[in-house]
Symmetry: C2
């Protein structure tokens, strides 16, 4: 298996860009990535995106991305795994290089969500659920997660104020990340008193709606040093899944798709959860953060909320989790999020992440999931 | 680079399945593929599809596919490159195996188009064009191809009856393919007198609207013989692109995306166009067939229509092209088509294609494109 390195990353601040379309966002992120490498000559592009077909009548997004950055003739395709599209796109990019097909591949994560009212976005996001058994009955994506959050709190006797600790921490970190969409600090009371989205999920338990684009340039080992003085190796990758509709799952609080993806990535990297210095995990809702931590093996089932309460996973702990502010505060332009996460971990390992960072991190992990933990990717990086 | 083999294929007849959804079509094709191998244990699934988000509010199609065939926990993702999604999905599947990530990967191409009126489908297919510069002005996908057909006929002095030869031949082959949607024979007069879709494209120049699913099981070389007595090697793959909107292209009759994809696949396989015994090419419209033949290097630019008129590319010629009946008669369930093509070529090389077939074919090629030759994949197979 050829080793694959991340040689350049770029991103735009996540925001509501009413004046920018896909092309402008992709171009801005790509220019930032090109400025991060010594030279570049990508041979193919992989785009992670969820909503362009539904919201903008735009398929062939890979061709649009190539037009945006002025490249002609390159190979291109889009990867979709709902809100997990970005992480899956990076793994496809990884495979295109590791297989020997290409020496340099560009991965773009991009999403536009701001141009539509929230009801339209909520409806589009529900496409991550089963259309025939869930979507057409009007269930929303927050509602599906609310069922799980309620079950979690009941089974593990977690109180509402315990569950509020995560978003408070995320906003603290987000306030120091120049790429974050939300940079205001919040309190436990702010979370508990915020409007109900779908009981028990409140607005401050939920990732915001925003636009963003992030770019990662991947290369084979033999050219990595020519392109970057600080290449970051992709040491392990893994994919996993669970039943699409919740009614088909064996156990709602056992995140098997995250477990499967993590097992594969850890086995490949010959690392264990205790080796990881820094991680970015998928916390579209507070409950998602807890199940992600448990699925990745950073905590036993039902234990993560207690560890968060004890101050675990904060900056300086091993692992330090979501120093970017996570989906909650950095933002969650759905199909782009996984690419942001992996770019952030690469910057943490290089030591140049411009927000809350570790002094010395050698091994990092990014985990992104589409649906209610339905299609999961895990990527492990090391210096 | 690890060698990758096709060890099993399965498909359903392309038709208008008003009584079957995605899950039923995928299951039927998968069962057929499972019956084609000695054993199977796929570790990941790649789904090629264009329209599920737009028409059926269904993202996370990879998870739906896994539910359909009763697998849990596997990796899964969807690949989209408009009408070229299927071929791109096979190349992603190839990479997942060639990279060493997985030993067995299942690729599914699936599309449902029959449940909606033609106007809805025409609108959805136009998403393969540029949404901002083409789609919103009401241009249809046939209209974009009609511009190119008109230019081709003018520049190369091809007459309407010359252009009718291709669909006549495709219906002849389709009539003998049990998986083909259209199995009626037609004449030059039928083509010329069929209703105008977008002048000069007539109904009989156009692929039909239909539903279908095809499945390919890929494996690494070391397990291929355990799974199949007749594995077919993937000897070369390539991707290419051209500008998304036609107004941005340098030359409308020079199919650079097909050329780039073909160059890459031929270089990798160490073969040339003259080595190919049998090919399946993308003929969504008659003009697409001609540009595909030229882009692949089977004819010089502007020459393919004359060669077709001379009887070239018919069964027994080298290469024999579209013995399935092509998109025109076998059918074109858009995101599934590329998987059908590659399955058909694998069967031709194995000698068990149930329609028009060659006595002895050793090297085959499948070419699939999304948009107006925008995102192209080429896959070369050999026994």
């Amino acid at each position: 298996m050829r080793k694959v390195h991340i040689v350049g990353v770029g991103m735009v601040r996540i925001d509501r860009y009413y004046d920018k379309g896909y092309m402008q966002l992709i171009r801005d992120a790509a220019v930032s990535a090109f400025n991060d490498v010594k030279s570049y000559e990508p041979e193919a592009i992989v785009v992670g995106n969820m909503l362009s077909s539904t919201l903008y009548n735009q398929d062939s997004l890979a061709a649009l991305a190539l037009d945006a950055i002025g490249f002609r003739g390159l190979g291109g395709l889009k990867v979709e795994a709902a809100c997990g599209s970005g992480g899956h796109a990076v793994i496809v990019g990884y495979s295109l290089v590791a297989s020997g097909l290409y020496d340099q591949v560009m991965v773009v994560g991009v999403e536009k969500m701001s141009d539509y009212p929230t009801s339209t976005i909520t409806s589009a996001l529900a496409q991550a659920a089963n259309a025939e058994y869930e979507y057409i009955y009007g269930v929303s994506f927050p509602a599906l997660n609310a069922l799980i959050m309620r079950l979690y709190m009941l089974k593990y006797e977690a109180r509402r104020e315990d569950m509020a600790l995560w978003p408070v921490r995320m906003h603290e970190y987000g306030s120091r990340n120049p790429y974050a969409q939300l940079r205001n600090r919040i309190t436990i009371e702010d979370v508990i008193n915020s409007p109900i989205v779908s009981d028990p999920i409140r607005l401050m338990d939920s990732a915001p709606i925003g636009d963003g684009a992030a770019v990662i340039i991947l290369s084979s080992e033999d050219v990595a040093r020519k392109l970057s003085d600080t290449p970051v190796e992709i040491a392990g990758v893994g994919l996993g899944s669970d039943g699409l509709d919740l009614s088909s799952r064996e156990e709602l609080l056992n995140p098997i798709s995250i477990k499967r993806a993590a097992e594969k990535a850890f086995r490949m990297s010959k690392l264990t959860p205790s080796d990881i210095d820094v991680a970015e995990i998928h916390d579209a809702f507070t409950i998602t953060a807890l199940l992600s931590i448990e699925g990745l093996g950073f905590a036993d089932l039902g234990e993560s909320w207690k560890l968060v309460k004890d101050g675990r996973f904060a900056v300086g702990d091993k692992p330090s989790v979501n120093l970017s502010g996570g989906l909650k505060a950095r933002g969650h332009p759905v199909g782009a999020t996984g690419v942001y996460q992996i770019a952030e971990i690469a910057m943490q390992l290089r030591g140049d992440f411009p927000g809350v960072k570790l002094d010395k991190a050698e091994k990092g992990l990014a985990m992104n999931t589409g649906g209610v933990g339905t299609l999961t990717s895990v990527v492990i990086l090391k210096r």
